[in-house]
Symmetry: C2
Subunit: 343 residues, 2 copies
Amino acid sequence: MIQNDLLLKTLAGDTVERPPVWMMRQAGRILPNYRKIRAKAGSFKNLVTQPDWIAEATVEPVDVLGVDAAIIFSDILVIPEAMGLDYEIIEKKGPLFNDKIRSQSDIDQLLEGDVIPSKLPYVFESIKRTKTILNDRVPLIGFAGAPWTIFAYMVEGSGSKTFSEAKKMIYKEPQLAHQLLSKITSSTIFYLKEKIASGVNVIQLFDSWSGLLNSEIYNEFAWPYAERILAAIDEVPTIFFPKGGWFSYDKFGSSDVFDCLGVGWSTDPKFARQKMGSNRILQGNLDPCRLYDSKQNIEDATSKMLDSFGRNHIANLGHGVYPDTSVENVKCFIDSVKSYRYK
Amino acid sequence: MIQNDLLLKTLAGDTVERPPVWMMRQAGRILPNYRKIRAKAGSFKNLVTQPDWIAEATVEPVDVLGVDAAIIFSDILVIPEAMGLDYEIIEKKGPLFNDKIRSQSDIDQLLEGDVIPSKLPYVFESIKRTKTILNDRVPLIGFAGAPWTIFAYMVEGSGSKTFSEAKKMIYKEPQLAHQLLSKITSSTIFYLKEKIASGVNVIQLFDSWSGLLNSEIYNEFAWPYAERILAAIDEVPTIFFPKGGWFSYDKFGSSDVFDCLGVGWSTDPKFARQKMGSNRILQGNLDPCRLYDSKQNIEDATSKMLDSFGRNHIANLGHGVYPDTSVENVKCFIDSVKSYRYK
């Protein structure tokens, strides 16, 4: 029994007094103890493979910020790595892969499916240790990147403003693209199932680069694979966050494979409500940059955002919290949500 | 009298047989002679200040690609430079400013308004030389960045995935932000008036970073300044391209200060039509990555895109053409539009 089960109740459609609140990237970046762990670890990759440090980083925001959920500290790129594609995180630049996937033989060499979890024992071990420390105070969220987003990194080989190499494969070699997307999909399903078996209570699927496509391409190369993963997860509730994917809201609105839709900050809550209906659970979407503002303005903006979403809502930012945000202002956001009551 | 006046007729709302076609970034990057000029110039900054080279780069796509309009080869960042903020273009990285605008005194030191054109004589000289070489074959488009986009670079000091420093000023010091936006606006108006006096036939205003905001912030900090510029231009038709600004289409739909709305590739033509009405002229929006595809697919996608927009349309990409696009495929896109006929 989870003591603070506000997130789970909301995801189940129960009537609650206020929305639950957590923040993407809450584990890490902004918190003082995280920074110490990060310095000790040396590299991000070293940190992300150490269960004790992961557990510490995951639980810190529950203790310090009072959020209603923990999210396991990890990275969406552990999946390509488990499939056989090593990467590094370059400080202030982002991920860099040693190889890129560009051909049939590149794809053929990738592992997929049920062998994937065995490559990532530290993730499942860290979930177990986190559950022990959390001691059922709040639910634990596990996550993965959606196939299009993972595909984008694997083909491009790094972050990119345009991901034009990844899109080149989609346009020029759609059959290759579908093969790679399928391999990512089957790998992600086994990975998430093992996360659930290890103890996570909710799954979030991040499609961070949705906004680089349009509805036609998204509905052919991105959504069907995300849908397959979401449909495969029936043990726990799911949150799907297609950032910038407003153009496919009609598609999402008619789907029942996920429980909650994450909304980015540039999408008006009223637009999301109108497209998704009043009963659909929505998550988001304060602009992370709002947390640079004065406390009064953070309170006002939070309250306005909560009013706009109405019931069936999980309060969050519309993107991960930025590293230079003050802990005080983050707390102001969290506390604003916690003192809010539905009328 | 412009010989090929298809663009001007379309912008005037006249009935035409087919849409005119041109491409953002058509002057430069992909063309062989441009690359030679670029190599001769050494740096981008050296190239962009030399009227003869600019004229050559501007006219090349008319000769080689057969587009229905030329657009003067330039950079939106000449405005901050004229206001007193130097920048460099770092190869493969983008613009880097030596100073950033962060305080009242930073803003106070900036030039603005009617003095701005005197700082950019090479732009107007290059327009005159281009007009001579073009010899009225096609119209010449002049452009500027919209104030929010220019503001974003001036405060951030470089390109950025989030432009969180620029947004920080908007949230934290809105009065400072409004002052800077006003200075950029008055500077841009005088700059564009001088471009028109030098001979450009159409003005396009690029709001390239619209998508980083939401409707509330856009409608307070971006649109009013873009609107002021567009309203001030009554000598020639105007095209407004708020890339990623789909969330403010209701605002744009009810405005008559511009003649044509540019549509990015992630926005469905049907969504734009529905919001803007069948009589509004729209420009766009083939995904530049589509030009990596086979010729048959480029033809099919172009024809489908033209069908979706219907009449009152200027064919273009939904973003600047990417540097690694083959000239042959670009020609295939241009020729597909030119052989299209409205039913």
